[in-house]
């Protein structure tokens, strides 16, 4: 075999040559077949999400949401303004490391001729990618929400949800309102957050809201991503005598925090800060201890069940917020391309800037539409408070969006 390969210098049909020819034919077959009926050049959309490392689960959820909408658009005849061009997703793993995320985005732009990039769930990754997309004038649509993302005056960033400081404020204010409705008063609170861009920004909002409400913050602790033991945190929490705790964390740490609280028989309510608290794995990991846990959430699937049920049907779990928001991001991008009648990045970006999008997946967002301001922030998005009921998340606050009554956990 090895000898065959190395001796193929003549023009005889050697094994290597035959293999190469057959291989080329097989590889080329789909292109030949496709060019038969689709004239329009597909529009490349880059998807950079963490598919490995500590945040992989969220990346997979995001990818599923994007895939759903891309398939829907393609099945419905593609992008009309471009002669039925299909959306071609180019999915890349950002890993959970910001430097890699930036490199991957760079590669997509230089090698794949993308119209826009979607991603990358974790704020620290999105910030790294945005440095690249801004330089290269490629629109970046995101559902990450650290304040920094839209706070740097970038022209090519579009964020479909509210800012972290707003979400942090809502996390506190909604909790205070729900407690007041239940006749409970919160005098002392604890804040613990994961020290990435997301945790730090959201904690800032929480802190400001608590201070504004004259509530004493008895614990305010950051901890590193990838913590493997929450005992020191919970020891501190127990000693602090807080009435409620606001943990802002991804999945593994959220499970550690709730389990360790239960171990230490600490029954004060924990009001999560989205991310790890609002995915099915939270309930899977905690079972009955998840019941009644409150969390703030930038959006929730029960606001538009007619849309989000399509996700549940295809992937077998409820449409988590990162999937929903990424779906919305791809939908508004497709609308912008339709309006621009062009797949050029700068033309699509011009149609996103300051624009309003209605109908389709935009209906799934609070406010029923998406309206970007000049900084690229969706000004209609309002954070929600959700509560675990069995295997589902029910929106319980603010009242105009509530699908169920809030139960104060005690």
């Amino acid at each position: 075999m090895m000898r065959d390969l190395h001796c193929s210098k003549g023009s005889r049909p050697t094994r290597r040559r035959v293999l190469a020819q057959v291989g080329t034919a097989i590889l080329a077959a789909p292109f030949v077949a496709r060019s038969g009926f689709a004239q329009a050049k597909p529009v490349n959309v880059g998807v950079v999400v963490p598919l490995s490392g500590a945040n992989a689960q969220f990346g997979i959820n995001s990818r599923n949401g994007i895939q759903l909408v891309a398939d829907e658009i393609n099945a419905a005849g593609g992008l009309k303004a471009l002669g039925g061009a299909k959306i071609n997703l180019i999915i890349a793993d950002s890993t959970s490391t910001p430097t890699t995320a930036a490199t991957v985005a760079q590669r997509l732009i230089s090698q794949n001729d993308v119209t826009a990039i979607l991603g990358a769930f974790a704020s620290s990754l999105t910030i790294a990618i945005s440095e690249v997309t801004e330089r290269r004038d490629i629109p970046l649509l995101t559902m990450s929400f650290a304040d920094q993302i839209t706070g740097r005056g970038f022209k090519n960033i579009f964020q479909v949800v509210a800012k972290a400081s707003v979400i942090g404020k809502a996390q506190f204010d909604y909790t205070a309102a729900i407690a007041a409705t239940a006749g409970k008063k919160i005098a002392k609170v604890a804040i613990m957050y994961e020290d990435t861009a997301y945790g730090t920004a959201q904690a800032k909002g929480l802190r400001a809201a608590a201070t504004a409400a004259n509530v004493e913050i008895v614990m305010d602790d950051a901890y590193p991503l990838g913590i493997t033991d929450a005992t020191p945190l919970i020891n501190k929490l127990r000693a602090s005598g807080a009435d409620a705790v606001f943990p802002v964390s991804y999945l593994n740490d959220s499970l550690l925090i709730i389990r360790t609280m239960r171990q230490q028989q600490l029954t004060i309510p924990a009001i999560g800060g989205a991310a790890g608290y609002v995915i099915p794995d939270f309930e899977k990991g905690l079972g009955k201890f998840a019941e009644g846990v409150l969390s703030v959430d930038p959006s929730n699937y029960d606001q538009a069940p007619e849309l989000t049920d399509r996700f549940r049907k295809r992937f077998g779990y409820f449409m988590v917020h990162e999937a929903l928001e990424h779906a919305v991001a791809l939908y508004v991008l497709s609308q912008a391309i339709e309006r621009a009648k062009s797949a050029k990045p700068e033309e699509a970006a011009a149609k996103l800037r300051g624009a309003r999008f209605e109908g389709g997946w935009a209906k799934a967002m609070t406010g029923g539409a998406v309206q970007f301001n000049e900084a690229g922030l969706n000004i209609l998005s309002v954070p929600l408070m959700v509560q675990w009921r069995g295997k589902n998340l029910v929106t319980v606050w603010p009242k105009e969006y509530a699908k169920g009554k809030a139960v104060w956990p005690s």
Binding site: A56, Q57, P224, I227, R259
Partner: protein, 286 residues
Amino acid sequence: MAFVQAIIDGLLIGGVYALISIGLTLVYGVMGIINFAQAEFLTIGMFVAWFAWSVLGLDPVLAAPLSFAVAFAIGWVVQAQLIARVLNAASVAQIFLTVGLLIVIENGALLLFGSQFRSVTTVYQTMSLSLGPLFISVPYLVAFVVSVVCGMSLWWFMRASWFGRAMRATAQNPMAARLMGIDTGLMYKIAFALGVGLTAFGGAVILPYITVYPSVGSQFVVLMFTVVVLGGLGSIAGAVVGGLAVGVIQAISGLLFPIQLQNLVLFVVFILVLALRPQGIVGAMR
């Protein structure tokens, strides 16, 4: 009282650190190879235990022997087919091999199992024993007790059994060991398989409180090396002392400083130990 609580928590978690690190020190002590892929066997152990839990309904702690067996078998093959070839090679070759193994195992797990988090639910997961104002976490206690039993058995094995003595003889002088009729190749296989098996065993034991995913090993790899070097590279007693020391240092620093500085404090202590006592707290076997 908070101080006593921190010491208790630190000792409990330190016992587990010791268990997962013993394998690393054993492999180095006997073979003189630093296995950078050691933490990946922790991941393998966790996955085996997770599947045992989800398919067979077995508690992870009861599934630990299964994790041990699977990793032992993989370790045996890896040693016989791969490591044996670089035993006398330059250390660069050894590093390349074990780092390569790390990458292969991590990505293999990613390919086979996907990157989602998997966690188990057990009854004792959220239980604790209360001694007055003190709490003893049951999953930590279970892990600690199992670690102690396991560590003691290994100690007995190395001390009293013929295999253990033969292994120590191999570590001290392979040539002399061979002259005394010891099959050193076999000893290396046992040492490596046992080393990775123990780490996998530890993986199963910690599963009740840690979620498993393909890159979970990377959360522990630095910790494992710290434990082993702190105690004395190559010394089993050193790994135990190192593990307990790391656990307690982390817990106490969590009490006195912000949690973020936990590892900073740990590494400051680590550097001090390396500067003042480079052979580690206990000192090496060879």
